[in-house]
C-alpha cells in the first residue's frame, strides 16, 4: 500500500507522488492507466525498494500540461522533481509512455539513472511496423489493443472501479479524458519526437522488456532501442500484451529485480 503526498517545488509547481516500500530508492513512471496506492507491480517491487511514483503531469489536472510545451520541457519538469526530492542517481523504471519518459530523462540527464528499465516503451517509429493508433479508437475499445490476457484486464478494471466507486460517471470519464489527453500532447500524431537521436546519450545499463503479444507497440521495437543504447538487453514476456506489468506481474517483477541486482 502506497501513500500519496503533494510535493511543492520552489518554482510553484506541485506534484502528487505515491511512495511506499522499503530499500534503496526506485523511480516508477506509470503508463496510460496511471498509478494508485494498490498498484500490484509496485507492491512486488516495494519488497526491495523504496518506491517513488509521481503522477504524470496532466493526469490529475490538465492545466499542468498547458504549461509544458514539448518533450524537452517535460524532461526538465521531471528533473526539477528529482532535484526537489534531493534524489541522486537511482534505478528508473517506466511503462509505456512512462518508459518513453524514463528514456528521455536518461538521455537528457545521463547521470540521473543508475539503471534503466523500459517496459513496452513508445518513442520510436518505423513505417514497416507502426505503433498502433490507440487514440483513433473509441475509449471503450482501447482495452482490446492494450490487453492480451482478458482475465487480467477484467481483474484490473474491477480493482480500479472498486476504488473509483465514489466517483460519479462524469468524473470517471473526466479521469480517462485527462490521462489520454495529457499523453496525446507529447506523442500526437506519431509517437516520434526525436528520441532516436538522443538514445546514444543513455549511460545506464538498460533492460527493454515487452509482452510478446503487445498489440499497441510491436515488440520488434526492443531491437531498435538496443541498437542505439550502449549497454542494453532485451526480454520478452510470453502470454502478455502492452499491459504486461499487470498481466504477468510476478514474471515482470522478477525480471526487473534480477536486472537491478545483476
Amino acid at each position: 500500500m502506497l501513500a500519496d503526498e503533494t510535493i511543492r517545488l520552489a518554482g510553484g509547481r506541485q506534484w502528487r507522488v505515491f511512495r511506499g516500500g522499503s530499500g534503496t530508492p526506485l523511480l516508477w513512471l506509470h503508463g496510460l492507466r496511471g498509478v494508485d496506492a494498490d498498484d500490484p507491480l509496485l507492491a512486488a517491487l516495494g519488497r526491495t525498494h523504496a518506491i517513488i511514483a509521481p503522477v504524470a503531469p496532466g493526469f490529475a489536472d490538465l492545466e499542468e500540461v498547458a504549461a509544458i510545451d514539448n518533450i524537452h520541457e517535460l524532461a526538465l519538469d521531471y528533473d526539477d522533481l528529482l532535484r526537489g526530492l534531493k534524489l541522486g542517481p537511482l534505478p528508473i523504471v517506466g511503462h509505456s509512455l512512462g518508459a518513453m519518459m524514463a528514456a528521455e530523462i536518461a538521455a537528457h540527464f545521463p547521470d540521473r539513472a543508475s539503471r534503466l528499465v523500459l517496459l513496452a516503451p513508445v518513442g520510436l517509429w518505423n513505417d514497416a511496423y507502426p505503433v498502433g493508433d490507440l487514440f483513433a479508437l473509441p475509449v471503450a475499445e482501447m482495452d482490446r489493443m492494450l490487453w492480451h490476457d482478458t482475465r487480467a484486464r477484467d481483474a484490473f478494471a474491477a480493482r480500479l472501479s472498486g476504488a473509483d466507486a465514489q466517483k460519479s460517471q462524469v468524473e470517471q470519464i473526466l479521469s480517462v479524458t485527462r490521462s489520454i489527453a495529457s499523453v496525446t500532447k507529447f506523442i500526437w500524431p506519431i509517437p516520434d519526437k526525436g528520441l532516436a537521436k538522443r538514445l546514444h546519450r543513455i549511460a545506464a545499463p538498460t533492460l527493454v522488456l515487452f509482452g510478446a503479444e503487445d498489440g499497441f507497440v510491436p515488440p520488434r521495437y526492443a531491437q531498435d532501442f538496443a541498437a542505439r543504447i550502449a549497454r542494453c538487453e532485451t526480454a520478452l514476456v510470453p502470454g502478455a500484451g502492452h499491459m504486461a506489468p499487470y498481466e504477468k506481474t510476478e514474471a515482470v517483477a522478477g525480471l526487473i529485480a534480477r536486472f537491478l541486482q545483476s
Binding site: A136, L174, R178, W188, P189
Partner: protein, 418 residues
C-alpha cells in the same frame, strides 16, 4: 430575419451498400469511391445552385471546410468563395469558414479572406470554426490537447492583421512572425463580420460574446435538440449584460418545401436518407478524441455534434434505421407544404431566438432540378412570410453596403489597338 443558402457539397456517388461495406465516410474513406468526372459535375452544379440562391433572394450563400471525406467536397472553401465572387454581386459570401489552427502561418487566412472581401466588393462574412476532430485531429494531425489554444491564438493574429494599420511583430506560442503587414486589406473596416460556427462548447459562448462574434450552431438534428445549446448561449449573453440581439446567433436547418406533406416525402425522402445514412457514417474512433472537448463542456453535459451521432450507445443503429417519418417528426428536417414549413420555422425562431437562419435545401445526393425547386419555393413562399421577424433589431453582424466602384465591364477587343 435573414436567410442563407448553405451548401455542404456532399459527394453524391456513394454505393448503395456504403454503410455496410465501409467503416467511415471520413478520414479513411477509400479513394477508389471518388470518381473525378462525378466530382467535376458536382462542383459545377453546386456552384450553380449557390448562384441561383442569390438570384431568388437569399441574403447569404454559405460554404465550409472539411478534409478527407465524402461528406463535403470542400477542403478549401476559399476556392469556392473565390469562384462565387465572379458570378454573384449582391448576396453576401458567408465563408463558414477556415479552421485557423490548420494554416501555417495563420496570416494565410487573413490574406485569403482579405482577398475575398476585396474581390467581392465587401461582401465577405469571415467564419472561424475550430473544425471537427476528423478534420483537425485525424486528417490534419493536430494534437487535441493544444488544438483550441492554437486556434484562439491564430484567430487573434488574424484579427490583429486586419485591424492594425502598422507593421507589427507577433510572438505567439504557435506562431512567431517578425513582420505582419498583410496586403491586400479588407474593404470592411475594421474587419469583416466574424461568425463562429460550432457544435457547442461552453468556452466558445463566452469567447463569442466577449469578442462580439456571431455564434452559429450547426446541427443536423433540428431545432428541438438545439434548444439546450442556444439556451446556454443566451444565458451567457445575459451573464455578460449585453443586449440579447437575435442577430448575435445563427442556426442551420434542413428544410424541404412541396405542395403537400406527402409530396415532400416523395420528392425529398430518398436524398435526406442518403445524407443521414451515408454522410454521417463516421467511425466511432474519429469523433471524440480525449482533449478535444473541454473539461467544462463535459461537465456541462454537452456533446459535440459528431459525438452525438456515433458516440452514444445505439445511435449508430438508430441512424441506419432512421426513416423519413422520424426525420420529420423529430424536426431534423422541416418538411411539407408552405404552411407547415412556415409554422415550424416560426416555432424554431421562437424557440431559439436566432436572427440568422441557414438553410440546407440540398441534401445528400439530391439532383439539381429538385434542389432548384426546393430553393425557389423556399425563396418565394417561405421567406416573405418570415422576413418581418426581429425587424426591430439592428443586425451588427452583417456586411454593411460598401461604397465600392462598380466592377468594370468584361474584357473585350481592346479599343486602343487602332
Amino acid at each position: 430575419m435573414k436567410f442563407h443558402f448553405f451548401h455542404l457539397m456532399p459527394y453524391p456517388g456513394l454505393p448503395r451498400d456504403f454503410r455496410d461495406k465501409y467503416r467511415s465516410v471520413w478520414v479513411d474513406v477509400p479513394s477508389a469511391l471518388f470518381d473525378p468526372a462525378q466530382g467535376h459535375r458536382s462542383y459545377m452544379e453546386y456552384l450553380d445552385e449557390l448562384e441561383y440562391a442569390e438570384s431568388v433572394g437569399f441574403d447569404g450563400i454559405c460554404v465550409n471546410e472539411h478534409h478527407q471525406n465524402a461528406y463535403g467536397l470542400m477542403p478549401s472553401p476559399n476556392l469556392m468563395a473565390a469562384a462565387l465572387t465572379r458570378r454573384t454581386s449582391r448576396a453576401k459570401i458567408v465563408l463558414m469558414g477556415n479552421s485557423v489552427a490548420l494554416y501555417n502561418p495563420p496570416i494565410r487566412v487573413a490574406e485569403e479572406m482579405a482577398m475575398l472581401d476585396v474581390m467581392s466588393g465587401g461582401r465577405l462574412v469571415a467564419g472561424f470554426p475550430v473544425g471537427t476532430p476528423q478534420d483537425t485531429v485525424y486528417a490534419y494531425g493536430q494534437s487535441p490537447a493544444t488544438l483550441r489554444e492554437k486556434y484562439r491564438e491564430g484567430v487573434n493574429l488574424v484579427m490583429r492583421a486586419w485591424r492594425e494599420p502598422d507593421v507589427f511583430s507577433f510572438n505567439g506560442k504557435y506562431t512567431q512572425l517578425r513582420y505582419v503587414n498583410i496586403w491586400p486589406r479588407p474593404i470592411q473596416k475594421p474587419n469583416p463580420p466574424v461568425w463562429v460556427p460550432g457544435g457547442a462548447s461552453v468556452e466558445t459562448w463566452d469567447w463569442c460574446v466577449e469578442n462580439d462574434f456571431l455564434y452559429a450552431n450547426l446541427s443536423y438534428f433540428g431545432y428541438l435538440e438545439a434548444k439546450k445549446v442556444l439556451d446556454g448561449f443566451w444565458r451567457t449573453v445575459e451573464k455578460h449584460k449585453v443586449e440579447p440581439n437575435p442577430y448575435r446567433a445563427g442556426f442551420l436547418q434542413f428544410v424541404a418545401v412541396a405542395d403537400s406533406d406527402a409530396e415532400a416525402e416523395r420528392l425529398y425522402a430518398e436524398h435526406a436518407l442518403y445524407f443521414y445514412r451515408n454522410c454521417l457514417h463516421v467511425y466511432g474512433g474519429y469523433v471524440n478524441p480525449a482533449g478535444y472537448t473541454s473539461v467544462a463542456t463535459i461537465r456541462a453535459g454537452i456533446e459535440s455534434q459528431v459525438a452525438r451521432i456515433v458516440g452514444r450507445a445505439g445511435a449508430r443503429a438508430e441512424l441506419a434505421n432512421l426513416g423519413w417519418k422520424d426525420l420529420v417528426e423529430r424536426g431534423y428536417v422541416v418538411a411539407g407544404s408552405p404552411d407547415t414549413v412556415v409554422d415550424r420555422l416560426n416555432d424554431l425562431i421562437d424557440t431559439l431566438k436566432i436572427g440568422h437562419l441557414m438553410l440546407l435545401l440540398h441534401f445528400g445526393d439530391m439532383p439539381r432540378e429538385t434542389t432548384l425547386y426546393n430553393t425557389s419555393r423556399f425563396a418565394k413562399e417561405i421567406i416573405p412570410r418570415l422576413r418581418h421577424r426581429f425587424s426591430e433589431w439592428d443586425d451588427k453582424w452583417w456586411p454593411r453596403e460598401q461604397a465600392v466602384a462598380a466592377a468594370p465591364a468584361p474584357a473585350r477587343e481592346p479599343s486602343l489597338a487602332k
